[in-house]
Subunit: 268 residues, 2 copies
């Protein structure tokens, strides 16, 4: 099976506050990624609207199946590429911070709602999701979705590995001074779980934040296969299931676990 | 409270097969460590007997309270230093791979039996322990014990953090080509759990193994505070609880967890 070429769109993201401009950026990236053979394009967290919008997030959040989702579907189908993009979603009075996965035919494959909200800002604006593992398949690869702070916890990533995730995609909005996350935690997560991990961050200033960039695709052998710097970039890397199987055979963490000793991890 | 100065004895370890020579190495290291202000000395895994001994492990393994333990108690009391050392322990027909913690008064504070055995060699020679979290206090610091392969799993380290471990000491026998463990996984474990982690490895060849060295003390901020190379070394570093509290306040992973979403981690 051919490796799944994955494009990581690191940028100031969409244009904060302007969904239409963000969609234009996405369309251009999808064209470029497809031209370079990518089958999957992943954006940063809250790509569609911007991250540091405060109360405007609720105003810009669409319900499921809104016009922005329809436009992403057109872009995906036009370039025959899967797209995972970050966007807020409204449901009644609640707003969720989501990663939405649209297939290369434009159909919606999965929606993940961030389960670990970061800091007072996010807890004031968003409702936390309740479903830890959301997956969909693309070209025979089982793809899982998490968002930013989620991946800093070993538990949700382990839950993905146990559920069969092979490529974990993580739209992110990581700010200074947390560079240890992309540099150390992300490769560790990939290695300890034997999976590929595409961590796609924002970069540059927005509001009071300064996002770090440093997006990367880490392999199941713990090696970072592609790494962005601190500026906007369309980064490409391959997720190869043959390598994943070899890594899991060499470091059989998933089969050497002793779940009966881990009960304190689920104590409320 | 003064930081707990910790000495990491990286070496070919004790002298494989010769417990008496290993004890002489330990006595010398304890003297040096105490002279430099250390309150705790940690050896590598199976320091007392050597690691790659095959069937001889069972022969060299003492029951609890044997003569080697008595000698370690003398060394600790003489230099007023806590000692964590790796040694096999026999109980009936079973042999456990243990980390034994002797206090600065020579009293036995704790014994941990390795719960995650690595590969066919260890599974043939040892019985796995059944108690995931073993701790004891020294100078007001709550110290936890794991051994080598254990620390590569996020779950047992998380269990320690949840149980209040502040300094996790990990006697280790890590061989090539697993350098990713001390370089990436160990700092990640310290950071994601907000604790100090002293990872003390063997170095050089023994039997068919080539141990990597690279012992380190990683801080709760993810920064490696001291790092050995590939040769024998007595490495000193401080574990400072004020820094630990600051790190946990900045990255409140332990309070932001959502244990109700982690149930799959304890499925048998």
């Amino acid at each position: 099976m051919a490796p799944l070429r994955t494009a990581l769109l690191q940028g100031p993201g969409g244009i904060p506050g302007s969904v239409g401009d963000s969609l234009a950026v996405l369309a251009d990236a999808a064209r470029q990624a497809a031209e370079q053979g990518a089958r999957l394009l992943v954006t940063d967290e809250m790509f569609l609207t911007g991250y540091a919008l405060g109360d405007r997030v609720a105003e810009l959040a669409e319900p499921a199946g809104g016009p922005a989702q329809a436009r992403v579907a057109e872009i995906a189908a036009r370039h025959r590429i899967g797209i995972v993009y970050g966007a807020p979603e409204r449901e009644g009075d609640a707003v969720f911070n989501t990663a939405r996965f649209v297939g290369p035919d434009g159909g919606l494959l999965a929606v993940y709602r961030k389960t670990h909200l970061f800091g007072d800002y996010e807890r004031n604006v968003f409702t936390a999701g309740a479903e830890p593992v959301v997956q969909a398949e693309l070209d025979g690869v089982r793809i899982g979705l998490l968002i930013c702070y989620d991946v800093e916890f070993p538990e949700p990533v382990r839950a993905h590995a146990l559920a069969g995730t092979e490529l974990l995609v993580v739209p992110t909005a990581l700010m200074r001074p947390y560079e240890v996350v992309p540099r150390t935690l992300v490769p560790a997560r990939a290695y300890e779980n034997g999976l590929f991990l595409a961590y796609v961050n924002r970069c540059g200033p927005e509001g009071s934040y300064d996002f770090t960039g440093l997006s990367c695709l880490a392999g199941p052998d713990g090696v970072v296969r592609a790494r962005a710097g601190g500026a906007g970039e369309l980064l490409l890397a391959d997720a190869d299931l043959a390598m994943l199987r070899a890594a899991r055979a060499q470091t059989p963490y998933l089969t050497d676990r002793r779940p009966e000793l881990y009960r304190s991890l689920t104590d409320g």
